[in-house]
Symmetry: C2
Subunit: 335 residues, 2 copies
DNA sequence: GGGCGCATTGCAAGCGCGTGCAAATGCTGC
DNA sequence: GCAGCATTTGCACGCGCTTGCAATGCGCCC
């Protein structure tokens, strides 16, 4: 199709050595004399030679490619996670392949197939849930699998989760300490494991203190849903005085609706908390009290595991559980 | 390193055909009888066979990989662009490889080297500017190059730009129509071609109407810079009554500072415009009048060009120039 | 029945690379 | 000078795939 790239062969000829010498020059830890190495490097430089990683991957059975499977990557939290993961992958000498699964359900499976085709060393799933059969196919082929924030029972993949439920408990404490009694949880209808864990944790912690929780669920996990949820919760006769939003995006929408549509003052008349600590949460129009996703730690954990000899534990290890710090801002009284 | 994947060889044996038959079955347009195709498919299914795209790329001299070179991908505009591009690439049967260049200067060159190593069919540069020598290396090797929103004179790559200057002119009109006379431009210090084009266009259009423009530049292109820029511009004796921010992110910061730190009402006392139309611009706390980046059109344009036989025009074609629609919201009076 | 054209199939070469193995080289010590 | 050793080098094979070419089989028409 196109002019072929320069090959090791050509470099070898120009340098007056064998092709293996070239190969070895670019293979760390191989045996080459400094003299031939110099000659090879010189020729390579002159010709603009770069090792063909496709061919190398073929030989080594290790492509260096890691597949990132993501939906909603235009979203602040997701994009920051993608950023962190690619950064850590690069630092580890690997490269990220990005697959977008926005389009339709089942595209996670398609994405994993794509990962297999390109012989990715691993796939990191940031959203959605693959079919059991396909994950098994991946694992059987020696492809590593990382699931981030999607704690299903499914064993085999390496899983990284947050202490969602425990975090939700901390919010209850904060709300009650601020004098709130009418608690509500604003969730999306996505039903993601981590979202549900927050919801359950919130309800459970409230129950311990003898408090009921109004739960409302609507739409996808975004700003618009937050507005709708506010509409629903703030028009109730027993209007809540404290709302935990499953996500910062929802919280932003909720807060905007509360202030602008209902003229409710936050935090005086209404306490609000979110989750993720997206950048917007810190903007002065929001100043949202929220939980910080340890994005960097998540990425580090995932990439480290990929590097390690994790064959030791045969798919039986429990999920890694990371801590989400509570970031105090002014959407809850009495910081 | 790891259990090898199942190969075409094994499928062939199981199906009782030759390896070529398997290959042809998975090559669209190749000559295979329906009977053998069936047998092959059956065996492939049973064994969980997937064509090795690394090997295929080796033969065809066409990997199907397109390298995306990005910085600040946690940012709303950038991430939405990445999203759109990967989506279009997937629809075109290609796959995106993501390289993050946040770390340091010169990493764009490193990224392009990486693209060459993986024999990417093309590289799309969304941020930063590669060295001339390295782009030449890419082009010489038959790798296609797309530059988005970085209009440097450098010919060779395919370039997609917006009508930044013209858009800036429209803002001036809107400001003047709203009765503003003291115009300002709030820019970052990044000095990106498109940012500078907006600045120059704004100044030029104002001059035509006999108006001077106060220009302030500070820091990177983000919210925090917007706040600082507000600090600088709004403490002037001849405080501006209309500010065009180079970016929505800057505009958000500027608006927040104006409202919360200076108790200035927008748009009554101050008209504001941004650029990009990030999601936050539509949030009710901002309601920013801004220019919509035609993200989808940009992505489509780029991917289409990759598909076409663009060898026809030998690097001499002028940049494609797309139009940025003005989105009217309430940060300028008199919509 | 034989010759012809066509669709299908298998063979084998080759894409660019890594690597085991054996040959070659350099060096040391006697 | 030569055996003995360590280091370096080249050869050749194979990774999984595509594809040109020749061989095979089939149906068709004269």
């Amino acid at each position: 199709m196109q002019k072929p790239f320069v090959s090791a062969q050509e470099v070898a000829e120009r340098a007056g050595v064998s092709r293996s010498a070239v190969s070895r020059t670019f293979t760390p830890g191989a045996s080459v004399s400094t003299e031939t190495r110099r000659k090879v490097m010189e020729a390579a430089e002159a010709l603009g030679y770069h090792v063909n990683h496709l061919a190398r991957g073929l030989m080594r059975n290790e492509s260096g490619i890691v597949c990132l499977i993501v939906s909603d990557m235009g979203t602040p939290y997701r994009s920051s996670l993608v950023r962190a993961v690619t950064q850590h992958l690069q630092d580890a000498g690997k490269i990220a392949m990005l697959v977008n699964t926005d389009r339709f359900d089942g595209s996670v499976d398609l994405a994993l197939r794509q990962a297999i085709r390109y012989r990715a060393d691993a796939s990191i799933i940031l959203s959605g849930m693959p079919d059991k059969s396909i994950t098994e196919l991946c694992l059987k082929n020696g492809q590593r699998l990382v699931l981030i924030n999607r704690d299903d029972a499914q064993p085999g993949p390496f899983r990284i989760n947050l202490d969602d439920a425990e975090a939700a408990g901390r919010v209850v404490t904060a709300f009650v300490r601020a004098g709130c009694r009418r608690l509500a949880f604003a969730n999306s209808q996505a039903g993601t494991p981590s979202l549900m864990a927050r919801e359950r944790g919130f309800i459970a912690a409230a129950k311990v203190l003898g408090l009921e929780v109004m739960v409302e669920r609507y739409g996808p996990t975004n700003y618009a849903s937050g507005r709708i949820l506010a509409q629903r919760l703030l028009t109730r006769r027993d209007r809540p005085d404290a709302v935990f939003c499953a996500t910062d995006l929802i919280a932003c929408g909720f807060l905007d609706a509360a202030r602008h549509d209902f003229a409710i003052s936050v935090p005086d008349q209404l306490c609000l908390a979110g989750f993720d600590d997206i950048e917007q949460a810190s903007w002065s129009s929001y100043q949202l009290t929220t939980f910080a996703q340890p994005v960097d730690a998540i990425a580090r954990e995932a990439v480290n595991w990929l590097g390690g000899d994790s064959i030791a534990d045969p798919a039986g290890s429990p999920p890694v559980r990371l801590h989400a710090d509570l970031v105090w801002r002014s959407s809850i009284r009495g910081a």
